[in-house]
């Protein structure tokens, strides 16, 4: 329903807000389907960061959409045909929760039965993320880093001359300021908890990075544009992002030097399980640092840009 409303409206501000609500509902659905880590990420990213970024780019473009075009029919036809084909395919799909589905064969039983013994941590999602599928995660961290670079190349971080720290676009909201002032330390603390407790409970580097960045984004939004830059200058972030990726890669290179495969954490300590645990911790730290600095850099790039034309 919300998706339909988001399509029908021409007020882009409302569209973006509805998109945020949609993300939050999706997160609730993930929770319901036992995917706590994913729900966590979706709530932090979809409902928080994406909405802020989209609003920031609306500020730089236009709020209102032009009159919609009239020839909707070809589009509807294509969508109708594709949808019908997909519904036909769905009729053959394994039912929800079916234990004999292909997903629950192959490697999954191994991850579930041996995961804790081999990697030494109860949260299997973190174990698979950082250890079994460490190559994928490394690749994804590099993708995020590259995306941050691309945004910087496209927009750059400008010093807005009209930007006055302490003056916020929403004006001087005393209640909001007081509440945010109390919330920010808690958000930062929660971010650290998510980062370092990700081996045992839901959480990990990706979520922690986003949560940490959200605290600074909030600070910047409420206490005036540019005030977050006084705390974390952009030039630090450039280096931090690279350090995060290098930390991940460095762990891999270290295991190579120790005559093991790339990213084989057993090389990190005498006891393989202990080494795995240490490796996962370091790698997640690298991911957290990289994600935090890239998200914050992207926010700076959007918020600092002066509207032209």
């Amino acid at each position: 329903m919300i998706a339909v409303a988001a399509i029908a409206l021409s007020d882009l501000f409302a569209v973006v807000m509805l998109f945020g609500v949609y993300s939050l509902l999706t997160a609730a659905l993930f929770m319901n389907l036992d995917a706590v880590d994913v729900a966590f990420t979706e709530a932090a990213v979809g409902a928080g960061v994406t909405t802020v970024l989209m609003l920031a780019s609306l500020r730089l473009t236009k709020r209102w959409e032009a009159m919609p075009r009239h020839h909707h029919f070809p589009g509807l036809l294509v969508v109708g045909i594709t949808g019908a084909a997909l519904v036909y395919a769905v009729l053959d799909a394994p039912l929800l929760g079916d234990p004999s589905a292909p997903v629950h064969q192959h490697v999954t039983p191994h991850y579930i039965e041996q995961g804790q013994a081999e990697v030494g941590m109860p949260n299997l999602v973190t174990a698979v993320l950082a250890s079994y599928r460490g190559y994928d995660t490394f690749g994804e961290t590099v993708v995020i880093f590259t995306a941050g670079l691309a945004v910087l190349l496209l927009l750059g971080i400008q010093d807005d001359t009209r930007m006055r720290p302490g003056l916020s676009a929403i004006g001087d909201q005393v209640v909001l300021r007081a509440v945010i002032k109390m919330l920010i330390p808690l958000i930062l603390l929660f971010g650290l908890y998510v980062q370092f407790h990700g081996d045992f409970g839901a959480g990990g580097g990706f979520q922690a990075g986003v949560i940490f960045a959200t605290a600074f984004v909030l600070y910047d939004l409420v206490f005036g544009e540019g005030s977050a830059r006084a705390v974390v200058p952009p030039r630090w972030l450039h280096r931090l992002a690279a350090i995060g990726v290098l930390l991940y890669g460095g762990v891999g290179v270290y295991s190579l030097l120790a005559d093991r495969a790339f990213l084989d954490y057993s090389a990190l300590a005498d006891d393989p399980v202990h080494g795995q645990h240490l490796g996962v911790l370091l790698v997640e730290l690298g991911v957290g640092i990289a994600v935090f600095s890239v998200v914050l850099l992207i926010f700076y790039a959007f918020s600092g840009r002066v509207r032209r034309r």
């Binding site: 995917a35 236009k62 929800l96 698979v128 496209l154 959007f302």
Partner: protein, 135 residues
């Protein structure tokens, strides 16, 4: 229709996916296209998480007295995909901002019209240059 509850999630996925697809191909505003892409992306996330679910299973965090867990593998794939998704969306938005700065609009029609006008101006300029060279 006893199988309906089993595939209900998949039907939702198809509906959302097609809604996003429709926005991407039929709407002219570039920001809205990115929202459509986001809808599409989220439907894929739901598809993966639905596949990973196991009836009677628990969240894949090892605890005492729990023997069945949902598959952690789709969770891992989607978790990273969400964060990569926000990074790529940011790149898309940055492109939209630059396009808006160059053309003064984020509407596809307007951009096409301006491109055509520019092409014609260039062709005209070429023609006059050739005329002068001929003389």
């Amino acid at each position: 229709m006893s199988f309906l509850p089993g595939i209900f999630n998949y039907l939702i996925v198809v509906f959302l996916m097609m809604a996003g697809f429709y926005v991407v191909i039929a709407q002219g505003n570039l920001v809205k296209k990115l929202v459509g892409l986001g809808l599409f992306q989220a439907s894929v996330f739901i598809l993966y998480i639905t596949m990973g679910n196991l009836s009677g299973g628990q969240a894949p965090i090892v605890g005492e007295g729990v023997t069945t867990y949902s598959s952690p593998l789709p969770h891992v794939l989607i978790l990273t995909a969400i964060v990569v998704g926000v990074a790529t969306t940011a790149v898309g938005l940055a492109l939209v901002v630059r396009i808006h700065e160059a053309y003064g609009s984020a509407e596809e029609d307007h951009i096409h019209a301006e491109d055509l006008a520019q092409d014609e101006a260039l062709l005209d300029a070429d023609a006059t240059r050739e005329d002068q060279a001929g003389r």
